[in-house]
């Protein structure tokens, strides 16, 4: 497979196989008996290298993109190492080890993922959404030029509860995190038709629904968050189906 590759290519194949053993494959959550071997991004790179591209010249834009990706995976690898996922030793079907009191301040594990791990693995979120959460959690817990705050665990919990209620009949939203670490889910059709919901750390929800350019906005209390989901679902046009 690597015979026609440059030295740089071979180095990357080596990296891929190294990280491929370490990184989880979120898709495997649907089938816990799967052996977890690689992340989606890693798989994509392997596919590219294996593909008959008919050229030995290195694709510069691709190399840049991959370098970025690998950089993120280094963060992931460090994180996974910290929680004891040595290559071949664990799979994502196993729960994280319990965090005992007093470990928190010394741990490299993003706080938001600990209390939400079980809900996250059973959430049925797309691989892309899962990767976004995972990579953002890792990036925001490490020192860097970014001044964005760490992911808020309560906000993530609130989102996962909401998603648990609507997930079976909703398109996958685009997930991002506000600078203060709050989850924002966006169901986007076009610039005139989209829904953004922000999950606050106290359990309230900010929502902004734009239907043909007209906004419907408000704040929903924690207790009534499912009523908000029902309100979206019974609309003539269900915004929870926008996206994908």
């Amino acid at each position: 497979m690597t015979a026609n590759l440059s030295l740089a290519g071979k180095a990357i194949v080596s990296d891929v196989s190294q990280f491929g053993r370490i990184l989880p494959r979120p898709h495997s959550f649907e089938n816990e008996s799967d052996e977890v071997t690689s992340a989606v991004s890693t798989t994509r790179v392997i596919r590219w290298i294996a593909a008959p591209h008919g050229s030995e010249t290195w694709d510069e834009p691709f190399y840049s993109a991959y370098a970025d990706e690998l950089c993120q995976q280094h963060v992931l690898a460090a994180f996974l190492g910290a929680v004891g996922w040595a290559p071949g030793a664990r799979t994502t079907s196993e729960p994280l080890p319990k965090q005992t009191h007093g470990e928190e301040s010394q741990s490299a594990i993003p706080d938001a993922l600990w209390p939400n791990w079980e809900a996250l693995r059973r959430s049925g979120l797309s691989e892309q959404a899962f990767n976004t959460i995972f990579v953002t959690a890792a990036n925001r817990s490490s020192a860097g030029p970014s001044d964005l705050g760490p992911i808020n665990a309560n906000s993530l919990k609130c989102f996962l509860e909401f998603w648990g209620y609507i997930g079976a009949c909703s398109a996958q939203p685009e997930i991002s995190f506000s600078p203060r670490g709050l989850v924002q889910a966006e169901w986007y059709k076009n610039e005139s038709n989209f829904l953004v919901v922000e999950f606050r750390d106290d359990g309230t929800l900010f929502f902004s629904l734009w239907d043909n350019g007209l906004p419907i906005e408000g704040i929903q209390t924690k207790k009534r968050k499912y009523e908000l989901a029902d309100m979206f679902r019974v609309r003539r046009v269900n915004p929870l189906l926008w996206g994908d």
């Binding site: 685009e174 991002s176 600078p179």
Partner: protein
């Protein structure tokens, strides 16, 4: 160049760098692109009266993206910021006497836009009125700003 001061005229462009986390599908900025980072007292923007679009892009590429280009910049005009503020209940008025945009902060007329000169970032400015937003207004404002479709890849 460093001594130049932005005029903040209605059609002056105040570019905002879009962090890599806030580029959605097709590089569309996500609403959080217009949210302040924790501890920031104003919304950081860059005046294109002082630096060119390319220079601003280079500044943020160096700070956040290891010099890699392109970066995403949104480029709303002062009038866009004013209009979106009005939509969420904050009025920004033009004071013809001293030539400043002002907003009401605890009964005091306060400049809505200020030049915050920084080393290596001489065009750095602040949209000041965002600090009187409560959380929900900040949420509404950010969503309205990303609808402006003024983003570019530089």
């Amino acid at each position: 160049m460093a001594s130049k001061t932005p005029s903040f005229r209605e059609r002056s462009i105040l570019a905002r760098y879009v962090h890599v986390e806030y580029r959605g599908k097709n590089n569309r900025p996500k609403p959080s692109a217009y949210r302040r980072s924790p501890g920031e007292k104003y919304l950081s923007v860059n005046s294109l009266e002082i630096h060119t679009r390319n220079q601003v892009a280079a500044i943020y590429a160096d700070i956040f993206e290891n010099g890699n280009r392109p970066v995403t910049l949104t480029e709303p005009m002062v009038s866009n910021y004013n209009a979106r503020a009005r939509e969420v209940g904050v009025t920004v008025n033009y004071n013809a006497d001293d030539g400043h945009w002002q907003f009401d902060e605890n009964g005091i007329a306060t400049p809505a836009y200020l030049h915050h000169l920084k080393p290596h970032n001489e065009s750095h400015c602040g949209v000041e009125f965002v600090r009187i937003f409560d959380d929900f207004k900040e949420f509404q404002f950010s969503i309205r700003m990303v609808r402006s479709r003024t983003y570019k890849f530089v």
